[in-house]
Symmetry: C2
Subunit: 285 residues, 2 copies
DNA sequence: TCCATTCGATACCCCAGAGGTATTGATCAT
DNA sequence: ATGATCAATACCTCTGGGGTATCGAATGGA
């Protein structure tokens, strides 16, 4: 096809052959071969003049399109392999949506404008599942501590904080410990949804020798604080949630507050070419 | 590329090779060759499982597009060569635009819907020029009689007719001959524009022994009858023009009226694949 | 745990076909 | 008429695509 285009552009077998870095005789044969294969005369020629037939003229346009598609295919394959182009399915928790996701996504989109980011908001446990099943390339989640199938990069550390109704007896305390919360109804996400936070809470109370009483178990931290605002209980939620506490609630620091990492994670065996630069962005920020 | 698509679709070297009518070992080598040429790993594979890499997935889509473009190019080349698809630059006179062109074009478009008709309205002499220079594939024109470089097919015969102002002295005549028009100002297209009609008129008068007096020389028959309507003279115009005579004019038959052919013509050496079926349509109608 | 089976990779061979050189034949300008 | 130009042809070479035989790794059943 390149041969054909070269000849169609030069209308001279010798020159076209030279452009293709070959000698004229085999070039002539190639053109004849194309015409024979198609069963169509593409050039009107005698030993002096070469001209395109109507079919050849039409074929020239089609060849250019085909060659362009071919070049693009090769180029794009390399770009996708290098991670410059392609897609990245990024999972994240609602918690992350409010804290680290916006900046992370913005920075990544700046250095990789041709990567199509597919953002999937899910609950923490579902994110891990999807990562391991390959339905996500990477995700922002609470650190699970030790999963050999995942590689992680810390995006920052956060701590739990007490949130109580404004008129609650603990609202006036400077800092609160486990014992002071004894008997209170604790609103928290179930372990099946946010194991990291749930176990952090459990350990915190266990360390204080208190058996926590959990009631209501919504999935989102945002819902939890709404229920607190309604006076349905108290909650231990990430500090960065406090930025948007509903009216009628106050937050108090915890004594020896449990801390946890927010991490970017991806399958350890991930070969998604777009993931490494996401980790780079994460480490830089 | 076909090999790649086959493997991407089957994800099995043996089956893909079978689909390509070849054995597995050379097929494997081809795939490896593609990956090496691109410098990109397209399949993640061990001796048990074959899977597309992200780059391979993207490449698959591009390959399908490229192959489709290639198939279309080959198919279209054959269609264009056979005259089923392509373009046809058809010249015609304003006279023809009113008479034979609409039906001819309509019938042709019915049997050749994929041929792009480029209609070019020109004066008769210019049409001949353009045909010989190859700027038109075919044209509807007045018969010139004998041009060895053109092949023609008659589209019908027409005759000249007298058109005079409604209040003209000849308006009441049953039929009119040359002598009766002696001294009248004749409005006609110049020989440089419409030689066939002009010479037909000249011969008609010469046969009657009358020397015609030409005044005004518009290019279009339609303009000629408009000038007659304004009382600026009389004219001999094709009968089929009479269908749309302007108000204030009447037409009268001529005694021994000059006749002429309206023909479809194309360069005798024309290799435009779309032209033959236009001639077929013309002959049928 | 071991063996049979499956499947992709490798080794080696063969030949079609792409490319090279020399030459012919046709066309055009002088 | 003659030389120059240019595509086509003849003939040769050798790369590379395709074939067969085989290996080696992974899997599943006994």
């Amino acid at each position: 096809m390149r041969y054909f285009v070269a000849l169609a552009e030069t209308l001279h077998f010798g020159h076209a052959a030279a452009r293709m870095n070959m000698s004229q005789p085999p070039f002539s044969r190639q053109i004849a071969g194309i015409e024979k294969a198609l069963g169509v005369r593409l050039f009107e020629r005698n030993s002096r003049h070469v001209a395109l037939t109507p079919a050849g003229r039409h074929f020239l346009g089609d060849c250019r399109k085909t060659l362009a598609a071919f070049e693009a295919a090769c180029r794009d394959a390399q770009l996708v392999a290098s991670g410059v182009k392609g897609e990245l399915r990024l999972g994240f928790t609602m918690y992350a949506a409010q804290s680290v996701i916006p900046r992370l996504v913005r920075r990544y989109a700046e250095i990789r404008p041709d990567v199509h980011l597919i953002l999937e908001e899910r609950i923490p446990t579902e994110i891990d599942e999807m990562l391991l099943e390959g339905r996500l390339d990477a995700a922002v989640n609470f650190a699970t501590g030790d999963n050999p199938h995942l590689k992680t990069a810390s995006l920052g550390r956060d701590r739990l904080q007490l949130v109580v109704p404004a008129d609650h007896r603990l609202a006036g305390e400077e800092a609160v410990g486990p014992q002071q919360m004894e008997g209170e109804r604790l609103i928290a996400a179930p372990a099946a949804v946010a194991p990291t936070l749930r176990s952090a809470i459990a350990i915190y109370f266990a360390a204080g020798g208190v058996v926590p009483f959990f009631g209501f178990e919504p999935r989102l931290q945002q819902t939890i604080v709404q229920l607190v605002a309604e006076g349905l209980g108290i909650a231990l939620v990430p500090q960065s949630i406090s930025a948007q506490l509903p009216a009628g609630t106050v937050s108090r620091p915890l004594i020896d507050a449990p801390e946890f990492d927010v991490v970017l994670c991806a399958p350890a065996a991930s070969k998604s070419p777009t993931v490494p630069s996401l980790f780079e962005v994460a480490m830089m920020a």
